[in-house]
C-alpha cells in the first residue's frame, strides 16, 4: 500500500487561484518529480483557508507548517529546504503583526481564531437525531447544574453577567428579560422560542435547529426554571419541515430520558415543550404578533407595553427569546459568565452567527466574535468578491437593516456600531453586493418585501411603505424628480416615527441608508436618467458600435425577439423599440462590439 509520507496542501480557493495558486501546484509537482519524491509527497488542492489576505497559502502536512504569500518560484525552495533538508523556509512564514514573530503553525495564527463556534458548537459535529451524541458533548449538564446547584436568581445573574444580548436583532439584554418575567407573579408562565426566521437570505436559526435541536430545548428548560414557567412553546415556520421533524424527534427523546417532563433530575421541576407552526408571515417574528398567532388570532402586533414578560401568551407572563440566543445559554452556564464576557466588545459580548450570502466566494454559515470587522468577514472568511469584481456594499439586518459601504469595512461589528452606521445587527443575514448591483433597486427590493409582509394594521406601514415603493419604482423607471428624493426622505422618517411595531419602524432603513451612502447613485437616476450599475432596464440600452462589429450575425441569431438586423459582414443595428434588454447579445458578442449605454 503506497502511502505518502508528506502532503502539501495548496489553497484552491478562488482568491488564491487568482494569484497563481495553480502554477504553484504545477511547479511543486515538477520539483517533486525532479527530486524523485513523487511516491512520498502528494500535492493536494484544497478549499479556501479563510486567509485570503495573505494568499496564496500552502500548508505542509504532517508538521502543519503554514506558508503565506507563496509564489510559483518558491516551489523549489519549499521542496529542497522543507522536504529534503527538513528546514522551514523562514521567509515564507507568517509574521504576527503584533509580536513581529514568525509563526509556523496555523493553530497559533490569528486568522485561525477568526471564527469561534459557541452557538454552532455541535452543528456539523453530532447527529442531531441522536440525544446520546448531545449528552456525550456535555448536553443537559447545564440544565442539571442549574436545577441542582443554583437558585433561579443565581442562574439569571450568570446570564446577566455574561452580557448576552438577544440574537434576534433587537439586542435586549437576555438576563434582564428573564429577570423581568421571573418577578411577575402568575399562576402560569410561558417560555417561547422564536424560530420565525424571515429575513431574506438568513438561515442561522434553521441551521441550529437542524443541527443541534437539543441545545435549544435544554436552554428553554433552563429559562423555564429561572422564570418559573413549566411550559415551553417553539414558534416555528411551517416552511422548515426538516427542522420541525428533528425538533419532534429531539422532544420525544428528551421526554423518554426524563430530561423534559415531570420531576426532571428528581428535583421536582417540571417542564415540557410543544411546537406551534407559523404560516410564514414576516411580521410574526415580532413578539406580540407571534404570540397572537400562537393564540390562533391574526398575526398582528399590539402596542408595547405591556411587554410579553408581563402579559403575553394567554395574558400570562411570557419570555420570548430567539433560537441563537438559546443556543448560547447552556455553554454560558457551564463555562461561566466571565468566560463568555471575555469574548466580544465592551457592550456586545460573545459571538454572532452570520449567514454570508450574495456576491461572495465562500457563501456560508459563520460564527465570529463580536467586534470582528466586516472586512475580515467578507474578504478573509468569505474569500472576497465573486469573479474578482469590486465590493460595493453589504446589507445587514435584512429588511430592517441598511447597506454599509467600503468606508464601514473596518468598523468592529457589534449592536451599537451597526446602529450608529444606519444599519442594524438584525438576525444575522449578511448579503454582499458588487459593482453590478444598483442600490436604488436594492432598496426597492426590500420595500417590495415589506409591502408584501406588512400586516396592514397601522396606516403608516400599510400605506406609507406602498408609497415609498411606488416612488422608488418611479426612480428606477427614470421618471423620478428632485422633489421625489425629498419626499422619499420625509416619508421614510414619518413611517419610522409613527409605525406601530418594529416592522414599520425599521422598514425605511434600506431606503435611508442607501440614500445616505449612495446619494450619487440616486442623483444619477434622477438628474441624468442613468443607472450607474446598468441594472435598471428602463434607463439603459444595448448599442452596437459600428466600428467594432464585423457582421458575424451571432447577435441577431441569439436575440429572442429579432430586434437585431444587419447583413453578413456589415455592422448590425439593435432596434430599441423591440429590444427587451435581456442581454443575450451582450454576453455572446466575441468582439466587444455591444455596449450598455
Amino acid at each position: 500500500m503506497a502511502k505518502y509520507k508528506n502532503h502539501i496542501l495548496v489553497c484552491g480557493g478562488t482568491g488564491c487561484r487568482a494569484s497563481q495558486g495553480e502554477e504553484i501546484v504545477q511547479n511543486l509537482g515538477k520539483v517533486i518529480e525532479e527530486n524523485s519524491l513523487e511516491n512520498e509527497v502528494q500535492v493536494v488542492r484544497t478549499g479556501c483557508f479563510g486567509f485570503c489576505e495573505k494568499g496564496p497559502v500552502v500548508k505542509m502536512v504532517p508538521d502543519n507548517t503554514f506558508y503565506v504569500q507563496v509564489t510559483p518560484e518558491d516551489a523549489t525552495e519549499i521542496v529542497s529546504e522543507h522536504l529534503v533538508k527538513g528546514r522551514k523556509v523562514e521567509r515564507l512564514l507568517y509574521t504576527d503583526p503584533e509580536t513581529q514573530e514568525r509563526v509556523s503553525e496555523s493553530k497559533d495564527m490569528g486568522f485561525y481564531k477568526k471564527q469561534i463556534r459557541i452557538a454552532l458548537r455541535n452543528c456539523g459535529f453530532i447527529n442531531p437525531e441522536n440525544i446520546d451524541e448531545y449528552i456525550a458533548r456535555d448536553g443537559y449538564a447545564a440544565l442539571g447544574k442549574v436545577l441542582t446547584e443554583l437558585t433561579p436568581e443565581e442562574a439569571i445573574k450568570v446570564i446577566i453577567d455574561s452580557g448576552l444580548r438577544g440574537r434576534g436583532g433587537g439586542g435586549f439584554p437576555t438576563g434582564l428579560k428573564w429577570d423581568i418575567t421571573r418577578k411577575v407573579e402568575a399562576e402560569q408562565k410561558y417560555v417561547v422560542c422564536n424560530a420565525d426566521e424571515g429575513d431574506p437570505g438568513a438561515f442561522m436559526d434553521r441551521s441550529i435547529l437542524e443541527g443541534d435541536p437539543h441545545a435549544v430545548l435544554e436552554a428553554m428548560a433552563i429559562n423555564g426554571y429561572c422564570t418559573g414557567a413549566s411550559k415551553g412553546l417553539i414558534y416555528i415556520r411551517a416552511e422548515y419541515p426538516l427542522a420541525i421533524s428533528r425538533l419532534k424527534i429531539a422532544i420525544n427523546q428528551a421526554r423518554e430520558y426524563g430530561l423534559l417532563g415531570e420531576d426532571i433530575f428528581g428535583t421536582g421541576f417540571s417542564f415540557d415543550v410543544e411546537l406551534r407552526y407559523g404560516a410564514g408571515a414576516f411580521v410574526c417574528g415580532e413578539e406580540t404578533s407571534l404570540i397572537h398567532s400562537m393564540e390562533g388570532l391574526r398575526g398582528e402586533p399590539t402596542v408595547k407595553p405591556p411587554f410579553p414578560s408581563e402579559s403575553g401568551y394567554k395574558g400570562m407572563p411570557t419570555n420570548v427569546n430567539n433560537v441563537e440566543t438559546y443556543a448560547n445559554i447552556p455553554v454560558i452556564i457551564l463555562e461561566g459568565a466571565e468566560w463568555f464576557s471575555s469574548i466580544g466588545t465592551e457592550k456586545s459580548k460573545g459571538t454572532k452567527v452570520f449567514a454570508l450570502a450574495g456576491k461572495v466566494n465562500n457563501v456560508g454559515l459563520i460564527e465570529v466574535p463580536m467586534g470582528t470587522s466586516l472586512r475580515e468577514v467578507i474578504f478573509d472568511i468569505g474569500g472576497g468578491i465573486k469573479d474578482g469584481k469590486k465590493f460595493k456594499a453589504v446589507q445587514t439586518g435584512g429588511p430592517s437593516g441598511g447597506c454599509l459601504t467600503e468606508k464601514h469595512l473596518d468598523i468592529p461589528i457589534d449592536y451599537d456600531n451597526l446602529l450608529a452606521c444606519g444599519s442594524m445587527m438584525g438576525s444575522g443575514g449578511m448579503i454582499v453586493m458588487d459593482e453590478d448591483d444598483c442600490m436604488v433597486s436594492v432598496a426597492k427590493f426590500y420595500l417590495d418585501f415589506t409591502v408584501e409582509e406588512s400586516c396592514g394594521k397601522c396606516a403608516p406601514c400599510r400605506i406609507g411603505n406602498k408609497r415609498l415603493y411606488e416612488m422608488l419604482d418611479k426612480l428606477t423607471e427614470g421618471k423620478g424628480t428632485e422633489e421625489d428624493l425629498t419626499l422619499l426622505r420625509n416619508l421614510s422618517n414619518v413611517i419610522k416615527d409613527t409605525s406601530l411595531c418594529g416592522l414599520g419602524q425599521t422598514s425605511p432603513n434600506p431606503v435611508l441608508s442607501t440614500m445616505e451612502n449612495f446619494a450619487d447613485e440616486y442623483e444619477a437616476h434622477v438628474r441624468h436618467g442613468k443607472c450607474p450599475a446598468g441594472q435598471c432596464k428602463s434607463l439603459m440600452q444595448y448599442v452596437i458600435e459600428a466600428e467594432k462589429c464585423i457582421g458575424c450575425t451571432l447577435c441577431s441569431r441569439v436575440c429572442p425577439v429579432d430586434a437585431i438586423t444587419g447583413d453578413k459582414k456589415e455592422p448590425h443595428l439593435i432596434s430599441q423599440e423591440t429590444c427587451i434588454k435581456c442581454g443575450a447579445c451582450y454576453e455572446k458578442c466575441k468582439f466587444g462590439a455591444i455596449s450598455i449605454q
Binding site: V44, Q115, A141, S207, G266
Partner: protein
C-alpha cells in the same frame, strides 16, 4: 434506556457515551473503522447529500470497508455542499466539499482505502468552544 433520574445519572450516562464514542472509533477492528459524517441540513439535502450518503453506505458495504456513516447538521460550507467529514482511524478528521457520487468514489478509493489525500479538502478554519476549553 432507563430514565435519567438525577444529575449523577446524567454524568454516568455521559461518561458511558463518551467511551462509546471512542469505542466506536476503536471498535472490533481498531485500525480499520472509518467514520463518515454527512452534512444533512436542508441545504445539504437539497444539493444531493442524501444520495451521496446512500451511495457511500452501499459502496463501502460492497467493498467490505468497516465504516460508520452518520448524518450531522450544517458544517457551514454552503458554497461547497454536499460536504462530508471523513475520520480515518488515528487521524484528524478531514472535510471534503462538492461531494457527488463520483467524488465519493474517489474519496473511498484514494483516501479511505489508500490514505492519499484528494483535491477538494476544506480546511477547518474555526475553533469550537469545547476545543477552546481543552487547550
Amino acid at each position: 434506556m432507563s430514565k435519567v433520574k438525577s444529575l449523577a445519572d446524567l454524568r454516568k450516562l455521559r461518561d458511558e457515551l463518551q467511551t462509546k464514542v471512542s469505542l466506536r472509533e476503536k471498535s472490533d477492528h481498531p485500525d480499520k473503522l472509518v467514520q463518515v459524517k454527512v452534512s444533512m441540513a436542508t441545504c445539504g439535502i437539497a444539493s444531493g447529500a442524501k444520495e451521496v450518503m446512500n451511495h457511500m453506505i452501499e459502496e463501502m458495504d460492497r467493498q467490505a470497508i468497516d465504516a460508520i456513516v452518520t448524518q450531522t447538521g450544517c458544517m457551514g460550507y454552503c458554497y461547497a455542499e454536499p460536504t462530508i467529514e471523513v475520520t480515518l482511524p488515528n487521524s484528524a478528521p478531514v472535510v471534503f466539499g462538492h461531494v457527488d457520487n463520483k467524488k465519493a468514489n474517489e474519496i473511498i478509493e484514494k483516501y479511505i482505502i489508500r490514505g492519499e489525500l484528494v483535491d477538494g479538502i476544506i480546511p477547518v478554519n474555526y475553533e469550537t468552544v469545547k476545543e477552546n476549553k481543552n487547550e
